[in-house]
């Protein structure tokens, strides 16, 4: 509102910043793609495209759930451990066939989400600590389930899930794309999606308006848990082994990065699913570009760190524009 009173020049500057905040991630992707097309060998090949997309898929799936949670002004630090739990429970029932095993892994993810949701929505603990508890405990639990061991996956259907393709597109990528569309529809067109955004914007006002705050929060964390479990299953299928000590390690950071770079503010009340997809793709593209040019891992991490700071700095303009 105050932007109307400001001097035109200041207003224009704020407008540019808001535009950058909303579209910077797409601009960055476009720039990187053009750069790679011009200077990187073997970039514009189908094989490379598939490799990059398969690599980004698990992070993207986790980031979708994270975007919803961050939209409620929360955060879910437990996603990496939930991935490990799903990976560890998967082989337990694989002897009975693919679907019982998948069901068990997804139920495990839903239960983890329910535990987080209970702590956040019912007990009223801050999301950071509530999900931190499961981050710490979850990986231990996964290792207990798996007896601390890496288990090879030999089930042919699981292997097909990890390596198979339909119409030249890997299943993993198709699943990630499908989930992205579903979550986008959920946010955009359902009552639940609107309630979620409203709660993130102002929780007490939403409660006063009669929204089912607890139920929506609970469901949000359950969705995040299930999506993390799906990511864990897909990562296991691609690795052809269930490795609960490594799967999902530091995924919470990658997912939060994708969400934030994609323009969803940490302060809640706004969810950008398309931006999150773009954020995940951008981070993958940056890593791929650096690797293709033989730059070491260390540089990649420092560049990522700088990008996070820039992204958050641009987002700050939301509060600067209003206040």
């Amino acid at each position: 509102m105050t932007t109307d009173i400001k001097a035109p020049q200041a207003r224009r500057r704020t407008d540019t910043r808001i535009w950058l905040r909303d579209n910077g991630v797409y601009v960055a992707i476009a720039v990187l793609v053009v750069y790679n097309l011009a200077f990187t060998e073997n970039f514009a090949t189908l094989a490379n495209l598939n490799t990059q997309l398969v690599q980004v898929a698990p992070v993207l799936i986790v980031a979708l759930g994270m975007a919803l949670v961050i939209g409620t002004e929360g955060v879910d630090l437990s996603v990496g451990s939930v991935m490990a739990i799903a990976a560890a429970t998967l082989p337990l029932y694989l002897g009975y066939g693919l679907f019982p095993a998948l069901a068990l892994a997804l139920v495990a993810g839903a239960l983890c989400g329910m535990a987080n949701g209970t702590l956040v929505a019912v007990v009223g603990i801050q999301p950071i600590v509530a999900t931190l508890a499961l981050l710490v405990g979850g990986r231990g639990l996964a290792l207990v389930f798996a007896d601390g061991q890496l288990k090879d996956i030999r089930n042919p259907e699981m292997l097909e899930l990890g390596a198979g393709k339909a119409l030249g597109i890997p299943y993993i990528v198709l699943i990630a794309a499908l989930l992205s569309v579903l979550v986008w529809l959920l946010v955009r067109y359902t009552t639940f999606g609107r309630q979620l955004v409203a709660i993130g914007g102002n929780r007490s006002a939403s409660a006063l308006a009669g929204l089912p705050v607890r139920r929506v929060l609970m469901l949000t964390y359950v969705i995040s848990g299930v999506l993390a479990a799906i990511a864990g299953v897909l990562a296991t299928a691609r690795l052809t082994a269930s490795d609960p000590s490594a799967i999902g390690n530091l995924f919470e950071l990658s997912a939060i990065t994708a969400v934030v770079v994609g323009g969803t503010p940490l302060s809640g009340g706004r969810v950008r699913i398309l931006g999150t997809v773009a954020g995940a793709v951008l981070m993958q593209l940056i890593a791929a570009t650096l690797i293709k040019h033989d730059l070491p891992d260390s540089t990649a991490q420092i560049v990522q760190a700088a990008i996070i700071v820039v992204a958050v700095y641009l987002q700050r303009s939301r509060s600067a524009g209003v206040a």
């Binding site: 509530a130 405990g137 639990l141 207990v144 950071l253 990065t257 940490l266 991490q301």
Partner: protein, 337 residues
């Protein structure tokens, strides 16, 4: 308008049940402040009776030295959390501190000690500057420096493939490995740092300002407190603590190991929260953090003593414990309201 009316109503209700509420409030705040110390004492007593090898001098020395590195990191974290912030970068900074100590010691022990302090202090200052003057969320700023510090570490260790050893006869190495009155020197350094931390938090203007900023940043600004400068100092302190702990840990193991410190920030936060410091800021104690650290390490030790339990249960118990503690905290703070 309604906001000004509601407190008066609440006051009326309060005065009716004044006695009961205050007793309850006092009980709640006591549990909040001293709960971790009581639980620690209970666990130690039970463990002493249950396991012959628990209440031995050797085991106590072990627990003390294992706790000391985490305790130093958690000390800096306590201040940051009391001010309403959070520092996720400490795990990476800790690892970086260790590697820098092992790297710098080739020019002598003094360089080996100062190099990690200068670099890690600079990272802390960067955190503080971005939080205080950039007005960015601490969570995300320190997440970025977590990645950045780890990248820096990889850059100076040939992508993590080089582990530098520290010569055993340099005094920095002796600082990590030596003992005094039966306890390792890092333990004594920890004790001194906690004593200083306690005094700073309770008795100095800086400490009081830390509480005020955590209670309400706006109010602290309006009161004329140097909020931005204090915030910078808090993150500087956290960076220095993490760097020092890393350097001491490297000296203790006489090598700059590159893979340490992953997830250490979570242990530190868990210890601080278990110690009764509120993550929302504005309340907390240094002594509670020490009890929280010891509690985590004693639980770890007890699980090792049981022997038949796989070591993976350590993190399960720590996580469950954290959940219970914060649930009780949430309940108590609601009861006192």
């Amino acid at each position: 308008m309604t906001a000004t009316e509601r407190p008066t109503e609440e006051h009326a209700a309060d005065s009716v049940a004044a006695n009961r509420t205050t007793r309850r409030e006092r009980f709640a705040s006591q549990v909040q402040r001293r709960g971790s110390i009581v639980v620690l004492a209970l666990v130690v007593v039970i463990a002493s009776f249950s396991f012959d090898s628990f209440a031995t001098v050797g085991n106590a020395q072990n627990i003390a030295i294992q706790s000391s590195f985490l305790a130093i990191v958690a000390l800096g974290m306590t201040f940051v959390i009391i001010s309403g912030g959070i520092d996720l970068s400490v795990g990476s900074v800790y690892a970086l501190g260790g590697v820098l100590a092992a790297y710098g010691i080739q020019w002598g022990s003094l360089v080996g000690l100062l190099l990690p302090l200068v670099v890690c202090g600079a990272i802390g200052l960067l955190n503080g500057w971005l939080v205080a003057y950039g007005r960015l969320a601490p969570f995300i700023v320190t997440l970025a420096t977590l990645l950045g510090a780890r990248g820096l570490l990889l850059a100076i260790t040939d992508e993590g493939s080089t582990t530098r050893l520290m010569p055993r006869d340099d005094w920095l190495t002796k600082l990590g490995q030596g003992t005094f009155l039966g306890l390792g020197i890092p333990v004594w350094i920890t004790v001194v740092l906690f004593a200083i931390g306690m005094v700073v938090l309770q008795r100095t203007r800086f400490g009081h300002a830390t509480f005020a900023i955590g209670g309400s940043r706006e109010a602290a600004t309006l009161m004329g407190l140097p909020v931005a400068r204090n915030t910078m100092l808090l993150y500087l302190g956290s960076g220095l603590c993490a760097g020092l702990a890393g350097a001491l840990a490297a000296a203790y193991s006489a090598s700059g190991v590159t893979i340490v410190g992953e997830g250490l920030e979570l242990d530190a936060i868990a210890a601080v929260v278990i110690g009764g410091t509120l993550l929302t800021g504005g309340a907390g104690t240094v002594a509670g953090t020490l009890a929280g650290v010891l509690l985590l390490r004693v639980i770890q030790n007890v699980i090792n003593q049981i022997g038949t339990l796989s070591s993976h249960y350590q993190s399960v118990v720590s996580g469950a414990f954290l959940a219970v503690v914060v649930a009780v905290q949430a309940y108590l703070s609601r009861a006192s309201r």
